[in-house]
């Protein structure tokens, strides 16, 4: 097998076909699907519609709800904390506000809590890896806000609700749309560098499922640019962060309100007891559960811990039956399989085409529809391209971007993408990229109200860990917006909430109760939860490990 410009010869042959049809495809696209066509393709090809990949949850407030097997396994797992070994009489940190998760939502909440009057040293952020290691850091494409002349928040709202299959919580979707322009203004005042044109206006692009161009971006490092600025702001405000110290269980008090958490120092294995008047859960998503064995775009710590901890205290979850697969995960080369190729590549003009270079779907369908069309092309029509390691994918014809929008467009706007492929010998300005859907986003989560309160007193939540904002399917650019909007709301509201809170005697009884419920339901699981970190070591090697 000969490798030419990063591709094996047989893949290069298919690329030649793509090149041959390229000219005729310029300015031409297949029409978008109708509502009925969407239904058909989703039910036949979307991984979420495979009923045997889901199961009913047997315990807790969401008993009877269907969720992916991998999620059920964690919710029906043995809590991994042995409560008998915990001494609750010695509190290590006594604070007003404990924020679990130092990603986007947690960091934004810390700033707004501080701005709303909670002193920095009365706030504590617990986070699993380093401050900022999160999905928020990885977002490339952009953030939505209806601030353009022919756009407005009600139109944005319609896009959110329709994209979410009309299953969203209307009040939350409204807040998302209405707060968006304010968030952009706030970012501007903090010094986030958004892309602007020569007149100084925002460069705004379309996104899958959106009816207006309202995607604000910072090249293809949008998430990184926003997060490193808000993190810098949080550091400047001297808000304390405990890194490598994830929460492993929430604490309650004898009046039944959430009253802090048990953290675990991942390097020394010590536990810390944090007593707090209120807790904000901002632990992000679940990509590292590898639902249905899909590769994922998510960061190393995206293991659904927040859902597990919240469920242990009795918080209601919602919309976890729906999983978002991003249509364009890298399918080649092997080293980067599953990593995200931002939707912006399509919004800037790259078309998905099959092995013969033919169009088979409009590039800007909502994610679930687009992903289903890719799967159909690969597995029903068998028009995909299979790599030497057995991945099948379709082409995303990236060279079109420079052809349509002018030479240099890729370098000016998609440097992260360019770099990722160039590191493995592929030049996306000259050759297309092979793509296949990848596990991307947790559409549902812990249910919240307009104040970010969960169904359990003392527990607030914001960001990807929550459910309701996006219904059954989140649109591009709405989750960076989500963590900013609801992180802000959570921060402001906890500052008010703590004024009237008295914490009683700390307890972990709820964890023991959860164990009993599992036993009564006859569930015997070898799995322990929360997961904290995924396991990627070799199985045979693991069998031969000894604990010293």
């Amino acid at each position: 097998m000969e490798i030419i410009d990063g591709y094996p010869d047989f893949m290069m042959e298919s690329i030649k076909k793509v090149e041959r049809t390229r000219k005729s495809r310029i300015g031409r696209n297949l029409p978008r699907m109708s509502s009925d066509q969407r239904e058909v393709i989703l039910s036949k090809f979307h991984p979420d519609y495979k009923e045997h990949e889901k199961k009913k949850l047997q315990i807790g407030p969401n008993k009877g709800y269907r969720m992916p097997l991998e999620m059920i396994s964690l919710l029906e797992a043995e809590p991994f904390l042995d409560t008998s070994k915990v001494d609750l009489s010695r509190v290590d940190y006594d604070v007003d506000v404990l924020i679990i998760g130092g990603g986007g939502g947690g960091t934004v909440a810390s700033i707004w809590a501080n701005m709303s009057g909670v002193p920095a040293d009365r706030i504590l952020i617990s986070t699993k890896l380093r401050h900022g290691d999160s999905n928020s850091m990885m977002a490339q494409g952009g953030i939505q806000a209806a601030d353009g002349p022919i756009d407005n928040p009600p139109i944005h709202y319609l896009d959110i609700i329709g994209g979410g299959h009309f299953a969203n919580k209307p009040k939350l979707a409204r807040i998302l749309a209405m707060q968006a322009p304010k968030i952009i203004k706030w970012h501007e005042s903090l010094g986030v560098m958004y892309d602007k044109d020569k007149e100084g206006n925002f460069v705004e692009r379309p996104g899958g499922g959106t009816s207006r161009k309202r995607m604000h971006s910072s090249k293809d490092y949008t998430g990184m640019e926003i997060l490193r600025v808000v993190r810098d702001e949080s550091i400047n405000r001297k808000i304390p962060v405990l890194e490598f110290s994830p929460a492993i269980e929430l604490l309650k008090d004898d009046m039944g309100q959430v009253a802090g958490a048990i953290l675990m120092n991942l390097e020394t294995n010590q536990y810390y007891i944090v007593k707090a008047k209120v807790v904000i859960m901002a632990t992000g998503g679940w990509g590292r559960l590898h639902i249905q064995n899909f590769a994922t775009t998510n960061h190393y710590g995206a293991t659904a811990d927040g859902l597990v901890m919240a469920y242990h205290v009795g918080a209601k979850l919602r919309d976890l039956d729906s999983v978002q697969y991003h249509p364009t995960g890298a399918a080649y080369p092997e080293q980067i399989v599953g990593l995200l190729i931002t939707e912006k590549v399509r919004t800037m003009g790259a078309q998905p085409v099959n092995m013969n270079g033919e169009l088979f779907v409009n590039p800007l369908e909502p994610r679930d529809v687009e992903a289903s069309a890719f799967i159909r092309e690969c597995y029903e029509r068998e028009m995909g391209i299979t790599t030497p390691t057995g991945m099948t994918g379709v082409w995303l014809d990236s060279p079109m971007i420079d052809i349509v929008q002018g030479e240099g467009t890729i370098h000016a706007n998609l440097d992260a993408m360019y770099r990722m492929f160039q590191r493995f010998g592929i030049d996306m300005t000259k050759h297309p990229m092979l793509v296949f859907p990848t596990l991307h986003y947790q559409n549902g989560g812990v249910e919240i109200n307009e104040h970010c309160q969960t169904s359990v007193k003392g527990l607030f939540a914001a960001g990807e860990v929550t459910g309701g904002v996006h219904g059954k399917n989140r649109l591009m650019g709405n989750s960076l917006l989500d963590y900013n909007v609801f992180g802000k709301i959570a921060g402001i509201n906890v500052a008010e909430y703590i004024k009237n809170v008295k914490i009683g005697k700390l307890t972990l009884d709820h964890v023991d109760k959860y164990r009993n419920i599992l036993r009564d339901a006859n569930i015997k699981s070898k799995v322990k939860a929360p997961m904290i970190l995924p396991e990627y070591r070799e199985e045979n090697l693991m069998k031969r490990t000894i604990k010293v």
Binding site: M193, M224, R423
Partner: protein, 248 residues
């Protein structure tokens, strides 16, 4: 149809179960902190370390080239040169001697962005050590993002905030430049300050945003929103499917 059973050769989870026939199972030697490990060829340094039995607590974040957690220094057997890489974005090669630099105790200034004076000395004032740069270009050589690091430090020194912001924009804050700088400059914090100054003070907020905010303050969209949030599903659906698309 079992898509992922077919299309799964490459999830990390299945890396370990991969049958020999599926990949060309050439094995290579990598030396992790001096110790030799045999690993299959074709893995990133990060996956090779996991294959060898290391479980990351530090040294892994995004696993995709966006966070800088996996900063790595290596040398090829028989060579004297020290090279830098991101473990998650670099293929492990035969004869690599490597170690990670998962933490850099770099100096970050604490400031209130609202109170900074955006003039030619504002960066120098908070990071006076940039004046110690001897233009050795080592930072630029070490950058896994191939940024012109020395140039952005020089721009900051000249007070050219815009240039420093622009040149440092793709910095993932891995710290590899800082590890090697003889002037002990925390390049990535300098870049951060330059970008915030530029974003806040040199790049004005577009008028269309300010206007939209004014309209919203006057309650222009409240009524339309009030209607939408209580609208029944059927009417919402109709409205959704009838909405006009700016891009077809």
């Amino acid at each position: 149809m079992k898509i992922m059973e077919k299309n799964s050769s490459a999830t990390e989870k299945e890396m370990k179960e991969k049958k020999p026939a599926e990949v060309e199972q050439a094995f290579i030697s990598v030396y992790i902190m001096g110790k030799e490990h045999r690993v299959p060829f074709g893995l990133t340094i990060m996956k090779a370390m996991e294959y060898a039995g290391y479980r990351f607590v530090r040294g892994a974040g995004c696993r995709a080239g966006f966070c800088g957690a996996c900063a790595t220094i290596y040398r090829m057997k028989g060579d004297y040169k020290l090279e830098t890489a991101l473990a998650c974005q670099t293929t492990a090669l035969d004869g690599m001697y490597l170690t990670q630099i998962p933490f850099m105790p770099a100096n970050k200034s604490v400031y209130d962005i609202e109170k900074l004076n955006p003039d030619i000395n504002s960066i120098l004032h908070l990071y006076p050590e940039i004046a110690r740069c001897v233009s050795c270009n080592m930072c630029t050589r070490s950058c896994p993002q191939d940024l012109e690091v020395m140039d952005y430090i020089q721009a900051a020194l000249r007070g050219d905030t815009e240039e420093a912001a622009r040149l440092s924009f793709d910095c993932i804050q891995c710290g590899l430049c800082t590890v090697r700088c003889m002037a002990e400059i925390s390049h990535y914090h300098v870049g951060q300050l330059a970008r915030r100054l530029y974003g806040k003070y040199y790049s004005p907020t577009p008028r269309h945003l300010t206007e939209r905010l004014e309209e919203m303050d006057e309650g222009k969209y409240d009524e339309a929103m009030d209607e939408l949030v209580v609208m029944d599903k059927e009417n919402l659906k109709k409205k959704y499917w009838k909405r006009d698309m700016e891009v077809k």
